[in-house]
Amino acid sequence: MTDAETGSSGIEMINVTKRFPGLSAPAVDDVTLTFPGGEIVVLLGPSGSGKTTTMRLINRLEEPTSGKIVVAGRDALSLDPTELRRHIGYVIQDAGLFPHMTVAANIGLVPKMLKWDKQRISDRVDELLDLVDLPPATFRDRYPRALSGGQRQRVGVARALAADPPVLLMDEPFGALDPLTREHLQDSLLALQERLRKTIVFVTHDIDEALKIGDRIAVLDKGSRIAQYGTPQEILLNPADDYVEQFLGGTSAMRLLTFGRVADVPLEQVVSARPGDDAAELRATLREDGRCGVVLEDGDRPRRWITADELTGVTGPVGERGSPTAPPIRAHDTLQRALEALIQVDRDRVPVVSASGAYRGTVTLATVQAAVRGMRDEADA
């Protein structure tokens, strides 16, 4: 891959091997891997697969036994390791904040080592605290022990970003957090990455986290053998071998649903009506159609399901007849969300609305099934 393709901030590992003294098998065995600039690449594997060692080779916390590593266009092995690390953000589990320093001092460490002046460091600290959603006035003078686990990890991310490095290494950063906080921080990281476009290497053993966070995933086996390297969809749709399939754990169809949007699948259209429409006419149309219809009110919002039977013997306008629909799902929701909604309602369909709330169509189980089939066909083609 050329420099233009990896971007100037990408990372390349070429035939990298790491042996630890006293161990016969190398921890990292002849790995060649390209991390494209501005993307999140997840190193996914069980413990002992060498994923953390692979990551630590990039900032030379481990020295490779052989091979070549290029970070943001520079040969990492020819640089002074301390200097190299100041330009690579590093986030670890539990954040690794220094307990004897305030939040501001922790974040300002790298800029201080780079000899920024005081005012610039102070401004940068405030800017970063804002970036990770911790109000500077409240947090900058606190000590780490006065923070929750999630807050500590936010400070950890801020510290890693302090000198605006092009590359960020994250070693199971959310591993020690409770599921709710973890989810929240994952969302924050993705929102942050939208804006910053860093080259991020993210180590985890959590498949769901990998699928959610990664632009690409490298599934690693013993000795850091790359069992598969691809986008989350590619890996879910086409596991390269038994090992990857086993790692995915047989629920790949469910996981696939998180990558499809309701807007991307053909919705099922049913007869729509207004409260003012003629009941007898609507009843005839519904009778012919055989399914239920939907009554729209104020600005095309779906309000009630209506069937032919409910209109039997009614003359004049449709009015308030019918049964209320479930809360509609939005076009940009995932198919997983659609399936959730379908399971919870007592109808076989759920209305779909646009961002403004206007009726767009309905989804049924058949719609979701067809979507998954479509993804698989596309992958096989």
């Binding site: 916390l61 690390r85 307990p99 790298v110 080592m113 022990r145």
Partner: protein, 215 residues
């Protein structure tokens, strides 16, 4: 002469000897602090050298103080020199041991984080490991000072400075005039100094421990 009359009549000598005692202990502990921390820093990364350093300091410690002082007369003569050397050696053990334990007890992930964000070995030691180990090291210094205060009394055996002179003279002429008063004055003086030193160390600990790790 009762005890109070004795104190009153000898107050200048007693104050001088108390001052001498305190000054000797302070200087010896300071020397031991510098030596001990240097030694601890030099060996703490290697378990083998750590064991060796703590072990040899421990062996020194088992030599009876009277014997050590006696042995030092041959090379160093009488007076201040053997007293200071012996006291410094005794003060070394708690300081070396606590320096090693304190530095080795710093969370490895913090050291890893420090190196990971680009701190050099020296900066990691100075800005992360040492401040975090400091409360443990200071406890060692406190123990060393208490130890030195007590052993300092025995320095009088080699004509060293301090309150030991009162105790030795008193014991030497037991039954004679003022013998009990002398022994009592020396002993109480050392106890008072010990309390004073301990109070000072509490204050120093409070002032030098970073707020984030203070209890």
């Amino acid at each position: 002469m009762n005890f109070w009359e004795y104190l009153h009549s000898r107050r200048e000598l007693l104050l001088f000897e108390t001052w001498q005692h305190a000054s000797m202990v302070l200087q010896c502990v300071l020397a031991a602090l510098i030596l001990g921390v240097a030694l601890g820093v030099a060996v703490y990364r290697s378990p083998r050298w750590s064991a060796l350093a703590a072990g040899s300091a421990g062996v020194l410690f088992t030599i009876p103080s009277l014997a050590l002082l006696g042995l030092l007369i041959t090379p160093l003569g009488l007076g201040v020199a053997p007293s200071v050397v012996a006291l410094t050696l005794y003060a070394l053990l708690p300081i070396v041991r606590n320096t090693i334990v304190g530095l080795a007890g710093v969370d490895r992930t913090l050291v890893d984080a420090a190196r990971g964000i680009g701190m050099s070995r020296a900066a990691t030691l100075a800005r992360v490991e040492f401040p975090l180990a400091w409360p443990v090291i200071l406890t060692g210094v406190r123990v060393a000072a208490q130890l030195a205060l007590g052993i300092g009394a025995i320095a009088a055996y080699v004509s060293g400075p301090g309150l030991g002179e009162q105790i030795f003279s008193g014991l030497g002429r037991l039954g004679g005039a003022n013998s009990v008063n002398m022994t009592l004055a020396g002993t109480l003086g050392i106890v008072l100094l010990a309390l004073l030193f301990d109070g000072c160390f509490l204050l120093v600990g409070r002032l030098t421990t970073p707020r984030g790790i203070r209890d």
